[in-house]
């Protein structure tokens, strides 16, 4: 299985929707792959966040009272199960054993902590290497290819965007500036007007931040000689199949 397929299993497992066979496959892979383990941990944490979409409800106070009673019952039972020390034992034997236990415990904790630190550092190095690789690829793409400038239209004259084409990977990096913030039920949509097609082709949907900025990576780009122009319209949230809204940005 590829890492992507494993991460898809991790998404299902995070919400307990994977089959036992899928879970076994996932566990085997995670034992040896720190990157997929990181993604799986993020997905597990994301799954827990979904729970917070439910309204909080204060439970009746007797649940808390009963819980604390159960805890004290549980602790009493545990204490009663422990063997009673024999009074005839010499005090120094007990003291020596206690010191030894403390030392052993302390060493075990230190060792565990060092191992955890080592594991975390290894993961961090792997992550940084991956990030560096991605960054190098992005810089190479941004510096070598053709760029297209998009200009703000009458509705947003101060808006602009720059498109960096990376034909070798058939992708483009697009940076938008100064667009008016879109309402919650609207999204901006980027369109490619192709030389070989009449209908514009959607290249992605995005929302801008409070300053009107956004960025987008367009994958599966047409061959750049086929790109006649680009435009951005405001559409219903999630985008539409063909543009219906007013043009905010246009460039060729």
């Amino acid at each position: 299985m590829t890492h992507e397929e494993i991460q898809q299993l991790a998404a299902l497992d995070a919400i307990d929707a994977a089959t036992p066979e899928e879970v076994a496959e996932l566990r085997r892979h995670l034992e040896t792959c720190s990157e997929c383990r990181r993604v799986a941990n993020e997905l597990n944490e994301t799954a827990a966040l979904i729970a917070l979409s439910a309204d909080p409800v204060a439970p009746p106070s007797q649940v808390r009272d009963e819980l604390l009673r159960e805890i004290s019952r549980f602790d009493r039972a545990r204490t009663e199960e422990m063997p009673v020390p024999r009074r005839t034992r010499q005090w120094w034997l007990a003291a020596a054993a206690a010191v030894l236990l403390v030392l052993l415990g302390w060493s075990a904790i230190q060792l565990r902590s060092l191992r955890q630190q080592e594991r975390a550092l290894r993961d961090e190095v792997a992550r940084l290497k991956a990030d560096r690789q991605k960054l190098s690829e992005t810089i190479a793409a941004l510096s070598g290819g053709r760029t297209i400038q998009l200009a703000g239209q009458a509705i947003a004259p101060s808006a602009s965007a720059r498109v960096f084409l990376d034909p070798s990977q058939r992708r483009a990096f697009v940076f938008f500036h100064g667009l008016p913030p879109n309402a919650g039920d609207k999204s901006y949509q980027l369109w490619i007007i192709r030389a070989d097609q009449v209908a514009p082709q959607s290249a992605g949907v995005f929302n801008v931040d409070a300053s009107g900025n956004a960025s987008l990576v367009v994958q599966n780009l047409p061959v750049d000689t086929m790109i006649k122009a680009l435009a951005v319209t405001l559409e219903p949230r999630g985008g539409v199949k063909a543009p219906t809204g007013e043009k905010y940005l246009v460039g060729s």
Partner: protein, 185 residues
């Protein structure tokens, strides 16, 4: 303030600190339990079992795998789904769910015991869920809150299994991206 107040209290055997940590989390976990099993008595039992399990198993909590709240939610949800499935197997799913929920509503206290941080997270999670296409959100919620398997969802919605898996995956992927600011991992 401790990042793991519940587990630290349990490991120290400090029941009053454990009670304070319970106060911090209980309404979040109880709200989730009611949403899943829609029965106040069952929800209260599971809530108590979950926290008792946290007290006895605090050593098993691994902060590298997520937050203490995520650990607690995972235990509570898993117990609730088990209870839901066994109830359904027995064919005893109660039809009075709606009535129970409505009688519980007066207890909902959106401000008390719900720190600002949790309110912000809730708002972000709801926005992120609302931004998902309906088909993806529905597949995700049927799995998450109703405990349906991917095959059960496919059969209920009359869609191929592969389509349901893809929708669930896409939904989780988008939520992972949208909620990155609120994760600890």
């Amino acid at each position: 303030m401790s990042k793991h107040p519940l587990c630290e209290a349990a490991l120290a055997g400090n029941s009053s600190a454990f009670g304070a940590a319970y106060d911090q989390y209980a309404s979040l976990v109880y709200g989730l339990l009611l949403r899943i099993i829609r029965d106040a008595q069952d929800a209260q039992e599971i809530l108590q079992e979950t926290f008792l399990s946290a007290w006895t198993n605090a050593r098993k909590f691994d902060p590298e795998r997520g937050s203490e709240l995520a650990w607690l939610i995972s235990m509570a949800r898993s117990r609730a789904l088990d209870r839901l499935r066994s109830r359904e197997r027995r064919g005893q799913r109660e039809q009075e769910a709606a009535r129970q929920i409505s009688t519980l509503r007066p207890n909902v206290d959106p401000l008390g015991n719900d720190p600002v941080a949790f309110r912000e997270i809730r708002s972000a999670v709801r926005s992120a869920l609302n931004e998902l296409p309906d088909a993806q959100r529905s597949a995700l919620e049927l799995a998450y809150f109703d405990g349906l398997s991917q095959s059960e969802i496919a059969s209920r919605l009359g869609e191929p299994l592969g389509t349901i898996k893809t929708r669930t995956n896409l939904a989780m992927k988008k939520l992972r991206e949208r909620l990155s600011a609120f994760r600890r991992t």
